[in-house]
Symmetry: D2
Subunit: 361 residues, 4 copies
């Protein structure tokens, strides 16, 4: 099988480094183009990341000699890749424009950036939850007269720790009505250098810029219905979120209090069974990055813990625990997942796999 040639925009940055590692030995994709800011452009990749490679694992040695392209010049990617992952940094306007120029040139863009998340004809996809939103790509292509190219986004990492358990209950007929969420998020979510050690030694920081708002709004688009190729925000869910930073390297943890709409599960055991048996599109389609079980329930009182559970399902599963009745809403639980794998590069790779199977790449 001939592998699709993937490009990485922002390859020298924090998310880019994750892409580089996760795509090593990928069965369907191979990294064939690495682009970054004009500063790094023209350098060997090995030189461009020297002193800036912060991942625990080294990058594949065969990438060291690739000459880094200029991510702001989409034409450089032509002939070199069949699609790109974008974790390119810049102003919102700049990213919006640049990503669309790749699409215009016929290069599909799977983006980690928030820039296009609220663009009407750009879907924000979590495989296993709103896979059918890929159809918005057709609308986008029509609207913008793109032939092969398009832009899709993935949501913020903070919500991925608990979207799967909500979706599983939804599919079982139990719709969410109101949610109060607080998160304990890992340092790597802020990239590198990111959060100073002086802020996280013997300390937590109860604020992450923009994160509360993203956590409250993005689920409404993801749970949105599709009408005539357009997404209508889901109107019947209210979320209140408080996001905090804790001294953890990888793994976001969320404490979720949830109220159901009219219909409620009969027991906590029923809910756990729903979670344990949940299988979604990525599992049914056999996507290479899909975990065997998207949701893992741990019965131990003291789980999930980010360090012990972040690697479940190769970092692509959500681990849930501490399901209890909530005296204010209906239920409460703790949910955790790997923020830079499921929540960032891994989730985008899974999206690309989905797009490939659906014929969009």
């Amino acid at each position: 099988m001939i592998k699709l040639r993937a490009g990485i925009l922002g390859a020298t940055g924090a998310v880019g480094q994750n892409y580089v590692l996760l795509l090593e030995n990928h069965p369907w994709f191979e990294v064939n183009y690495l682009a970054a800011s004009p500063n790094s452009a023209g350098k060997r990749f090995g030189d461009a990341v020297a002193g800036k490679w912060f991942m625990d694992k080294n990058f594949p040695s065969n990438l060291a000699d690739i000459v880094v392209g200029d991510a702001s010049k989409p034409e450089q990617a032509l002939e070199k890749c069949d699609f790109v992952f974008s974790s390119y940094e810049g102003s919102k306007e700049n990213i919006q424009e640049t990503e669309m120029r790749y699409a215009e040139l016929g290069i599909p863009v799977v983006s980690n950036n928030s820039a296009h998340r609220w663009t009407r004809d750009v879907p924000m996809i979590i495989p296993g939850i709103n896979d059918y939103h890929v159809e918005v790509i057709d609308t986008q292509r029509t609207n913008r007269r793109f032939s092969r190219g398009f832009v899709v986004t993935k949501p913020n990492c903070s919500i991925q720790a608990y979207m799967a358990p909500i979706e599983a209950l939804w599919k079982a007929g139990y719709l969410p009505k109101r949610m109060i969420i607080s998160t304990e998020q890992a340092s790597s979510g802020a990239g590198y250098p990111g959060v100073p050690s002086l802020d996280l030694l013997d300390n937590i920081v109860p604020f992450i810029s923009g994160e509360d708002e993203k956590s409250e709004k993005e689920p409404l688009k993801i749970f949105g219905t599709l009408t005539d190729g357009e997404i209508c925000l889901y109107p019947n869910l209210k979320i209140s979120a408080t996001c905090t930073r804790v001294p953890v390297i990888n793994g976001h943890t969320a404490i979720v209090n949830l109220e159901f709409d009219n219909k409620k599960p009969g027991s906590l055991e029923e809910i756990i069974d729903i979670w344990k048996n949940f299988l979604a599109e990525p599992q049914k389609l056999g996507l290479p990055s899909a975990p065997q079980h998207p949701i893992i329930y741990r019965y131990e009182d003291n789980r999930p813990q980010p360090r012990k559970d972040r690697d479940a399902g190769n970092g692509m599963a959500v681990t849930v625990g501490r399901l209890r009745k909530c005296d204010v809403l209906d239920i409460k639980f703790v949910s955790s997942s790997h923020n830079t794998i499921l929540g960032a590069a891994g989730g985008a790779i899974l999206t690309a796999e989905l797009l490939h199977v659906k014929g969009y790449l």
Copy 2:
């Protein structure tokens, strides 16, 4: 002025060490009796804590030669102290019985233990919130035919981070109806050796045994009304709590989502003003350990932080920040305080000061 002679039961333990330091140079009390388990009894205090003194500051050198008493033998405290602070460890039954035997012998007990918190004629006091519950002592003395002695308790450390802000709103006429709380609690709350470092390096633990329940129930007694010298639990407040442990030495942080009963504040500014202007009994009575302002509001987005705010008001103030509207309940905010000072030994010392002024010691 002649100082009251205080005893410390459990003086060699984690809370006991806090008492020792906080009572150094106290204007009204002086430590005159140190008691611990039979293991330590009979040793010099300096020897009993050798290798077990885990506080950053050393203990006062004048205590080194005090011979440690046996806390399980209340008669040893007679003639040596006018009242005792109890952080004695043991089974619930054992603590209940032992503390009452001190009271029976005429020695008032201000206890950190949870053993008597739900005993009907024992008040659970937070000075500045339910000071008038001290009257339950009269009932207790009558019930049990105590003359001078009695037992009072203080609530669990986890709720002290947010009880003052709730009380301030209550006094202003805004009663709480429903609260969803999640906490990020410091390691010192588990005592020493307490939480293993392997559990808190690059990790959080989303569970503290018994803590969710205490957080949900104890406020109902504290906010209870007094009828004929008995406390009736406050019936109109529902609390749902999830308590977690984070890699912080001292300082519990709570994320509070709050719904008011019928009457609601007009604006967030009004709430902040209520908090900033809140003064309670300890301030009015000029208690030595009372902070000038029991509640400090920080306008910065990223506060309160446990390391930076735990020492506010010498560890006796609550620092609040991030007040926002909540789309599910009414408001949400983050609140933090020092768990071993306000939340434990400091809070109990403030209670003793209150009891002294009220004529009970």
Copy 3:
């Protein structure tokens, strides 16, 4: 190929849990017997470690139903295993006696314990360094009239971070004469619960009981010569060590200052070449747990770092960096390795592999 049946003494403890994980899918050995203290004996392994399993990865599900044996009763191991790994806890005398009873019954013991390290006819082996010391087993068998059984030990974890680089230089003709070493050791070295979090948050502890002494003496036996089946301590090396504990989960780091005996390398480059090209018995014999390169040299100024380098060579390699001239002795460098893999269970498994190839198992 029929796998050898391995037993694990102390299987529920910290090192035992490492054995369980590292032996999963081992090509030569399979775990067939799990033993622990009388407390755990008779329980299902799954029950015995419930709430005590502290490794990030779960234990293989097929071990859950194995009934735990009593490690203090060697006869229980008969028929169940061809040899045992011992990380059984107890007094020195108790361990010495128990391990020898296994040997007497014909069951070879590869021990992590320090109890027999200084027993004259028991070798202390680091594969790749003193492989030929296995011959002491013959002496031991003769002395004690053992037929098949014997006891071998491995040295303390703290020295493994730098023994390989010293050995590589030795083999190249550059003998060490004097060494000054300080270590920054990981929390997992103390087992679980081990070091309290209150000791390692915002702190280091400059003392590990017994560790300085082991670091100074054990290399003398390992580098000892063999005469008539007996080890003579190497007389010409003086070591001064200071061992400290730092807030790191896994990975011991050593700062080594080294003076050579008469002959000295010509340049730092020569030394790096020696390290990079070093291959030893485990590599030549193709032992399954042997890393491809026992020593990895990192040229970056800021390496080795325990979190980034501990997994090099699947946790079995030593990573070295910062080689510089020393103005007091001859050279200095920083060396790091995984303390619970190379330094404990992994090192013992490699020893067992060596013993198997040499015909002792």
Copy 4:
């Protein structure tokens, strides 16, 4: 008594913030001028540090409205201060030139910067060790035709953890000949934002740029003799240092191996007595920031620990422990002190106090 008016160059930075807090309520000095980079110049100090104030304690409210000056324009300081503390950032050349321009204008400069440490006629002073080097100021004034102004520096923070114990032995007649040192340094030594949290969670970094070299060379100037108003480097001491960064907020710890020149102490007890009884100029002169005892010896095996010992003597004392014989050199010990107090702002304030008493301010 009229207080001297102090200025702080670089007042918004990490060291500057320390100065601000340490000079609050100083008996001899009052902060009357705050200067920073052109970016901050012209702003209210409260605005200039908004979101950048990283100290645990707040700055004195009376400084909030001071308009920040431009540190690169020495003339702005005229009339506003009698001397300045300099922690101004910039290139070495720029700092060298700027500090000398202050001196030229008649404003003495006590500098934390390394820029002038090796300028021949600029002394590098640790009060209590080389107080008499202040005489080099006379040479400097003569050389450069300064009337009132001058520049003095203080050494790097990393060496302050162990210079006092060396000096105490020296004064007792035991001169150091060779030293091998490794340090475990706190995050705050790198300023703010400084070291990323991703580098120090579950990790140490065995490298701090320039720190090994400073540790090896600066003591030679501090121990240098004065001949004709010039410092001759001490020729008979060789130091080899390896400096590492650990996850500690404040407090540098050093592991010191020391060889004496011809004369050696008779016993470890003698050394401890020398340290405990050591008193130096700052104590004899009664300087306000001088600790009662510059060296505190702790007999416990596991001390000094940075978190527990950094505040000894209000952060101005050195705490020493673990004195043992060294089998390679003569003795070894562990020494620790507060890097941003004794090692930075506090040390410079003590220097200013010394200069004031000596008539130089």
